[in-house]
Symmetry: C2
Subunit: 752 residues, 2 copies
């Protein structure tokens, strides 16, 4: 039965920006509660003070505070004390996790000339914390195995699978060799994984000044960019298999948890890995011979880039202290006045690689200021209807340890009570950057409409739209941009603490921050300091406050909405886009395979090749069959229909609907759990931890998302049987999801 | 009346490669004369000896031999003596031309630090001729005016008009400043011209290692590429206005020619210009502040590229010896046995900037070997039917002086007797690269089909097709490539000696050479030596011989054909492509203007801009009106119809047609003169010397071609009135051309 609300809908979907501030609806609120909510948000804004962010950052970054360090523990206790002071029910939850730190790091060129890598980021006079060497973690990659290897060097560009295809075309094999890859092109952990798959015995990762150094801008301390001695620390555990403690996949790393032996931990690398600066890389790369590197492999060092192998030979020796340390998550709870069992969760990690002003303290201090204001509002009588849980995570840098272990420990509660997990991490000047569950696009868009950009005095939505319009590369993209009613959320891959919530448990998630106007090269170095951040990041913390306004509004609206602000139309159309991408992927792969096989038959590549240069023709590939996309297409078509039907009875003004009244609670229960229907306990092929069937980090990209990953990666890996199986599975998942949307529609329709 | 040949045509247009060698037709020949011609070509091939090329190159490059030098004169005499020995009626024709050489060259950084540019290419031990400093021309740009200027420095990327738009967006003006541009992106002479138009007072041009140095490959002497001290000499006269002697535009620079005063010469630069190496550029660029350069402006020097202005201040002082020198063209004639007044002309310059092994001697020695073999064939009885004229030009490097003055001096004879001018210049390993009049595509394709590539033992046509197929970037381009029956000739802009023949006089022209497998950085430096060329260019001169086989075949077929091998179908379809490009250009410009104006109204750029960086919004542009392309489109449509009708009566086997018989001579007369109908004595707007209405070097690109230049450049410059006027003019030109094609068709049809 078609609801009378359908006609109302027409009135309410006029472009958001055309309405005056007073008329602006708040999705999920009735007109009267929206008025109240707006007043609350004005009070909230008024409480935010950039000076707090500055002081907390100064304090939290005063010393190195990596996982397991004294100052990390002190920070946890300080943060907990703040939350307690603001009225939150706060505790520190502890986990015991494996965290290797270096005992020996040797990298030397042994032929044709000699050079010993310095592996040191020197102190810089202006930067007071850069010289705290006794507490700094040295430059290294966590979860590299121990190793002592010597071999010829091969330059592998970004070290992703297609780079090895290019090497093979030039007759270069890395078996028994040590590879040197530059940062970029994938998440760093992919590089040693792919190198090991190809038989390499060691892996060096360096920051090329093309991507991360003087090519990008003036280097530190003159400018913000990575100088010749800066090196990027970071975890190389195989996070696309699972994040969290390597010894306790799938379960919380509590004191008495059952643990794997280290040798059985799947996510530790197979070969030793070390990150180095470009001043350490230059002497190695300069001594490479062999074919010249393809043009887009060449960086900004003043040399001719060759791929090798050799004559450069290097010796790499790494030994780690494989110790267990305590990870401490600060969990601060503000119980909801009406629906204490509906949890709005908000988190940012607090651990860093060194002093970590930008990563993660810039995001954390915004979260703290947001929490302080919300706590004060609660004290003065405006307690949220739903429970708000603030988290400050430990051990994120090593592989989302704190958040993952907490989420695994509390999995059942989270599946029962979790509504949304809202994440943030580094924050700086620029544009709103939001990713997450597509059911939340209207919420995010309305918040962006209501927050003012501190530099341009228009809404952050308007500024983002201007930015995205200029980023569009053709008229069609510009047209799409201009016609979009809602912000298009990025699909989430990995790289921050939303992963265990969204991809393991199926709790709807958002990841929100500002960025784009303060690029620089302090990432994971000793130079990510208060001094650096307050010169180049967000000097007056105006974007820290803007972030607090943005995420605070999201939290408050989620906590106080009359009906939870989820909707399905853009999710259904986004899914339809993803399925179109998949069909196109298969078509492109088919055409490319045909073309390549034809060129092999015609000897095209051989005829065009320069006979004075090595050239090995690739092998012919099995032709790509036509795959049956129909189950997936039918499921998505059904969901689009279901979403449309839901919108027809619910619409933007759902909270005002008399139909909702008594159904509010059961509708909320349905809405808060529906994302879980997108997960399967069996997870993805070869990585059961990743349960979500729509979003996952790529097996060969790392942080980079793969949407509908089971199908997409099967096609990419040319496994047609698995692609078909996965299509059936995902189709089933979407069908069950659509049925739940239909149940919601029925719930509302029957009440008419 | 439709000829009976039409049906024959169907049999003969089967794909060229599907036919066995014995069956392969020769366009313009009857079946019996084709047999004879094939035998001649076999004899010709057998006479070619790579050892000759090596010895002549060794001798001709033994000392620096620029225009006006002793060794240049000696080379002219040596070349003339060779031609005489081979039976050519040979003379040296002399012209008196303006050729400035440096007296003073000073470039220094005066603030914020001090540095004096070395301006020297040092001798390299392995390279015997690199140290001949007493005879070498120093590094400089010919036809720069004298000047003594000091000012703040601004980096202008390639120094083309759109680069100045980018600077304006960043609030940077070059008025009263000295600009530094990198080589590339346009012909060098454009850089000081555009800089002066924007008010700069001096111009430095440097070779960035990104485009021309270690980024591209190992540097000399380890590899072929430009080392840190290499600098590119070159002319900066305003060649798109006219090439040749600056004092005698349009007339031969004979002793008694009427000359302009130097101050009235339009093509001398308005500001002083100097080329420098990257080791001299680095200290200057390093001291630039101001905005960071746009990402695609950044080169491969190990610095952050800023645009300035300042704080770098430089002093540039240049004084020249503005002397008159003698240019000597060697002209060698082999009179045709049947049609002495039909001239097949073949030329390559012999002057160099220094020793010039690659540029131009690699091309010249192939021409000499070709001429030797043809001379011997003539001596042994196989005299060509038409006259062949070999030319070795002087003063090409300064601005096509030798060829232009000769063509201007002999303009009337050339208009009367010229059939084709076939040019070459540098030659090296790689792929056939041919440009020229599109009426000659079948000739070029058939020759490419019949010459074997020395590296891969397939025809150079097959190898070129493989190369072009791999260069195609998408399936549609690959489809087009595969379906092309004939090689697509590049349209000719400028940069070598075909310009006066094709673009001033309307003699059909070709420019032919091999390249693509021996890139390097010796261009216009002291390192363009015998040593460099025989290591990196074409070590065994196999491609020199392949070039001789290729151009020699073209010359012999043109000289002996029963009917001149011109045809019109691909020219007509190429013209149609050009007109489509023009309509698309106007449409794109219109859409871009609308978009830009909309963004200005919406303040999109302002909202997206980072307020901490300078940003100046561009001005709104006048909307682009819809232009009347119909006259041009109708003219091209008519020509396509005319070409089709001609093919229907003529076809591939025209020479075999009984219809031709008695008409041969009048048909040849028509065919050899029809290209002249594409010229107008009034020339192009603002540059009357350039008479050709279809091909011209771009006013703001230099060597780069602009097709249908009158219309295209008017649209690019947003001069809608001129665009309309030019469309009418070009339409008229094409109509007259089509009428001449119709006359040819009628000639053949009436004889049936």
């Amino acid at each position: 039965m078609r609801s009378a609300l359908a006609s109302l809908l027409l009135l309410l979907t006029a472009p958001l920006l055309a309405q005056s501030a007073a008329e602006k609806p708040l999705f999920g609120f009735t007109a009267p509660t929206a008025q109240k909510q707006r007043a609350l948000e004005r009070d909230f804004d008024a409480k935010l003070n950039p000076q707090n962010l500055r002081e907390w950052m100064k304090r939290l970054t005063a010393r190195p505070h990596h996982l397991g360090s004294d100052y990390d523990k002190a920070n946890a206790e300080f943060i907990a004390s703040l939350f307690r002071g603001w009225g939150y029910d706060t505790k520190i939850e502890e986990f015991e996790v494996l965290f290797p730190t270096p005992r020996t790091r040797v990298l030397e060129l042994v032929a044709p000339s000699k050079f010993v890598a310095k592996l040191v980021e020197p102190a810089i006079a202006e930067d007071a914390t850069s010289g705290q060497q006794s507490e700094q973690l040295p430059t290294y990659n966590a979860y590299s195995i121990d190793g002592d290897v010597t071999g010829e060097l091969v330059y592998v560009n970004y070290g992703i699978p297609k780079d090895y295809d290019e090497l093979a075309r030039r007759g270069v094999d890395v078996k028994g060799k040590i590879v040197i890859a530059r940062y970029g092109g994938s998440w760093r952990g992919i590089k040693p994984k792919v190198a090991a798959e190809h038989g390499a015995i060691g892996c060096i990762i360096y920051s090329d000044p093309r991507d991360d150094g003087y090519f990008q801008g003036d280097v530190y301390p003159k400018g913000a960019f990575r100088n010749e001695n800066g090196a990027q620390r970071g975890s190389v555990m195989d996070m696309p298999v699972h994040p969290g403690d390597p010894l306790t996949p799938g379960v919380g790393a509590t004191k008495d948890a059952k643990r794997l032996e280290r040798k059985d931990a799947e996510v530790i690398t197979k070969i030793p890995v070390l990150p180095i600066s470009y001043s350490d890389a230059l002497p190695l790369l300069r001594e490479l011979g062999g074919p010249i590197a393809p043009i887009d492999w060449r960086g900004a060092l003043p040399i001719t880039y060759h791929v090798g192998p050799g004559p450069a030979r290097v010796h790499l020796k790494l030994e780690f202290d494989w110790k267990m340390v305590t990870a401490r998550d600060v969990i601060a709870r503000l119980a909801g006045s009406e629906f204490p069992d509906q949890w709005i969760m908000r988190g940012n990690h607090y651990d860093a690689w060194v002093n970590g002003a930008s990563d993660p303290i810039s995001g954390l201090v915004a979260e703290l200021e947001e929490a302080r204001a919300i706590g004060e509002l609660a004290k003065s009588g405006s307690r949220p209807k739903r429970t708000i849980i603030y988290a400050a995570w430990d051990g994120e840098e090593e592989g989302l340890l704190g958040s993952t272990e907490w989420a695994e420990t509390h999995a059942d509660e989270l599946r029962r009570n979790g509504v949304v997990y809202l994440n943030s991490d580094s924050n700086s000047r620029g544009f709103l950057d939001a990713g997450g569950s597509h059911t939340l696009e209207r919420l995010v868009t309305e918040v962006a409409r209501d927050v003012v950009d501190p530099e341009r005095n228009v809404s952050v939505l308007q500024r983002l739209r201007a930015h995205e319009l200029l980023a569009a590369t053709n008229a069609e993209e510009r047209k799409t941009q201009r016609e979009l009613e809602l912000i298009r959320l990025d699909a989430l891959g990995s790289g921050s603490d939303y992963t265990p919530f969204l991809q393991h448990l199926g709790v709807a998630a958002l990841d929100v921050g500002y960025s784009g106007e303060s690029s620089g090269g302090s990432y994971h170095s000793v130079y990510d300091s208060f001094y650096h951040y307050t010169r180049f990041g967000d000097p007056d913390f105006r974007y820290g406050v803007t972030q607090a306004k943005t995420t605070g509004r999201m939290v408050l609206r989620l906590a106080n909405a009359d009906v939870l602000p989820f909707e399905f139309a853009t999710f259904a159309s986004t899914l339809s886009r993803y399925v179109n991408e998949l069909t196109k992927l298969a078509d492109t792969l088919r055409a490319d395979t045909e073309e390549r096989n034809r060129q092999l038959t015609d000897k095209t590549m051989e005829l065009a090749a320069d006979p004075t240069k090595p050239f090995v023709a690739p092998n012919a590939e099995e032709p790509v069959p036509f795959l049956n996309f129909a189950p997936l297409q039918n499921a998505v078509a059904r969901l689009q229909k279901s979403a449309k039907a839901y919108d027809a009875v619910a619409g933007n003004a759902i909270a005002d609907s008399p139909a909702v009244g008594a159904k509010r609670q059961s509708l909320d229960q349905l809405l808060m759990h529906v994302e879980q229907l997108l997960t399967r306990r069996e997870g993805l092929p070869r990585r059961p931890w990743f349960a979500h069937q729509i979003y996952a980090p790529g097996f060969y990209t790392g942080y980079g998302v793969k949407t509908i990953p089971g199908v997409r990666e099967a096609i990419e890996q040319r496994d047609w049987n698995e692609a078909s199986q996965q299509m059936a599975i995902v189709a089933g998942v979407i069908e069950r999801y659509a049925a739940e949307v239909d149940r919601a529609t029925g719930m509302l329709s029957r009440s008419e």
